[in-house]
């Protein structure tokens, strides 16, 4: 009687062992799938909050707590979902939806970060290098066409906020409720929070030629306000994440 019983116990243990290996492999395999989106993101980097370490170190050090999200006055920072693999729960920005306009008077998110994923070595907005602005569609630019702009820069149910000094020193204001009336569209330059990052350069030598082309300079930090405020659809000026003046 004892012998067949112990045999079946052995079989049971064996089956359980194999099933446990399958369970373990399933869990590890599932986790490792997160590698794929991270590889794909290498071709098109994600726009990270100010002062983010380089992507590899950033992903290693971010503890995915969202404290940076909580301190941002314009709620520019979002947390990545599972389709981003190892980036799950890490902060990123969609500049067109809501750029970082430094409403917080510089880098509250950096101060909030408990792991230094957002490097504590950065403490002014001018030191930030999130990306670099680029004119993606020059002919569509209103300034290049020599046109003015009237009305709100973004319309419809657009939720984005900017700090307008003339409206309120402290409280960010909805972009869709702030109308402009400009002879020549200079919104990207007008709203840029960094001194000297963008200028409008004449297209020809003629004094009568109203046309201007936005030109991005080395001091651009890649905050994305220009991309956000551009009234053309899609935006003429965009941010290339993780690009700097040197690499642009």
């Amino acid at each position: 009687m004892a012998k067949p019983l112990s045999l079946s116990r052995k079989q049971k243990a064996r089956r359980q062992f194999i099933q446990s290996i399958m369970l373990g492999s399933g869990v590890v395999g599932g986790a490792l799938l997160g590698f794929i989106p991270v590889q794909q993101a290498k071709a098109k980097p994600i726009l990270r909050p100010p002062a983010a370490l380089d992507e590899q170190d950033f992903l290693a050090s971010c503890i995915k707590c969202g404290q940076c999200v909580q301190v941002c006055p314009v709620q520019a920072i979002k947390l990545a979902d599972m389709d981003s693999g190892f980036s799950l729960g890490t902060p990123y920005l969609d500049a067109r939806a809501q750029a970082c306009d430094f409403s917080c008077d510089a880098v509250q998110c950096v101060l909030a970060c408990p792991t230094g994923s957002l490097s504590h070595e950065v403490d002014t907005k001018e030191q930030v290098r999130m990306g670099f602005a680029r004119l993606a569609d020059v002919p569509n630019c209103l300034a290049v066409q020599g046109k003015g702009f009237k009305g709100a820069a973004r319309t419809g149910d657009y939720q984005g906020l900017l700090r307008y000094q003339d409206k309120d020193r402290w409280k960010p204001f909805p972009v869709k409720d702030y109308p402009y009336d400009l002879e020549l569209c200079d919104l990207c330059l007008r709203q840029c929070p960094i001194e000297g990052a963008i200028s409008l350069e004449p297209i020809s030598d003629s004094a009568d030629d109203k046309r201007r082309i936005p030109t991005v300079h080395d001091s651009c930090v890649g905050c994305g306000v220009c991309e956000m405020i551009c009234p053309q659809q899609p935006a003429v000026i965009v941010i290339d994440a993780r690009v700097t003046a040197e690499s642009a």
Binding site: L23, G30, I63, M82, F86
Partner: protein, 325 residues
């Protein structure tokens, strides 16, 4: 020391050992002897259990625990929603009125992947370590972890389906969790990514509650369905490295649940409700090596056994407190 080592090994996945009769204390030998002579009828047992329920003592700890669990998770949510800045962040890392806190396993993953000593993280880790050392280690699991609560509901459905004989429970080897723990430690070091965090349901649920949900919740749903239809409490029992991390803290914790053999009728109800029944091996008839036995480190201090025990044979205990008082 031997008891401590055994608790540690059981935590890692070993089956609890049948204690050597020769090592039994004289006290407990007398108790075991008396129990062998004593005849307990099924009716009297039922009456005792009914009296326990009538007194309303069968849900005290569950209610306390659920209250703490829900409130602590809610605190994260309202801190931000109402901007009162009491508890900022999520369960992986936070600031409690400005003081850093870090989940031990998440902090470990980050430090292994990043391979830097991060001062704020270290402060947070030490704070949280001390907190859960005082409170019992895996107390985190049953008293704070939001997945635990969802899993409890899933368990109820699972047990109902099993009772109806529609499904069968499948058990895995508990050592799986230890292996997974080592694998995820190695993966963090080798790849430089916090690989475990992608499938960490605690982080996923905590962030979903605070910042809004996403696809990641589908993974949590999958885990719950797996637990409902295939294997009871599978994630917490066989997989979660966070549980093992806090279990390790619990090996040296003064707060534990203690089993008092004298009044126990060995009905085994505690074993049926327990997430980690291997820590309750001592409640089987004739097994307790002493008149009082502290449960092992894997115990989550959820107190379901305390609630269900009609004879108060399982109670919370703080090591050394009785001597002090």
């Amino acid at each position: 020391m031997k008891q401590w080592l055994e608790s540690f090994k059981v935590l890692l996945g070993k089956q609890p050992e049948r204690p050597d009769k020769a090592s039994f204390t004289p006290d407990v030998q007398v108790i075991h002897q008396l129990k062998r002579e004593e005849k307990v009828t099924a009716e009297s047992l039922k009456a005792i259990e009914q009296a326990h329920i009538d007194k309303g003592k069968h849900r005290i700890w569950r209610n306390r625990r659920w209250t703490v669990l829900i409130l602590s998770n809610l605190l994260f949510v309202i801190s931000w929603q109402l901007d009162i800045q009491l508890l900022e962040g999520a369960l992986t890392a936070s600031r409690f009125i400005g003081f850093h806190m870090a989940d031990l396993n998440s902090a470990l993953q980050v430090m292994l992947a990043y391979q830097h000593i991060l001062i704020n993280l270290l402060i947070g880790t030490v704070t949280v370590f001390l907190l859960w050392w005082l409170l019992g280690g895996r107390t985190f699991c049953s008293w704070v972890c939001p997945y635990h609560l969802l899993s409890e509901f899933a368990e109820k459905i699972h047990l109902y389906l099993v009772k109806k004989k529609w499904i069968k429970n499948h058990e895995f080897h508990r050592g799986t969790r230890t292996v997974l723990y080592v694998v995820f430690v190695l993966l963090a070091v080798i790849t430089g990514y916090t690989v475990f965090e992608v499938i960490n349901p605690v982080g996923i649920i905590s962030r979903a509650m605070i910042y809004g949900g996403g696809f990641a919740l589908l993974w949590v749903l999958f885990l719950l369905l797996f637990e409902i239809f295939y294997s009871r409490r599978a994630w917490c029992r066989y997989a979660c490295p966070i549980g093992l991390t806090y279990g390790l803290v619990g090996t040296i914790s003064p707060l534990r649940i203690k089993y008092h053999v004298k009044d126990c009728h060995h009905e085994g109800d505690c074993l049926k409700v327990c997430l980690v029944p291997h820590v309750l091996a001592c409640v089987k008839k004739g097994r307790a090596p002493d008149s009082e036995v502290a449960l092992g480190a894997d115990c989550t201090r959820c107190a379901m056994c305390v609630d269900v025990c009609p004879t108060d044979s399982l109670r919370f205990d703080v090591k050394g407190l009785n001597k002090l008082l």
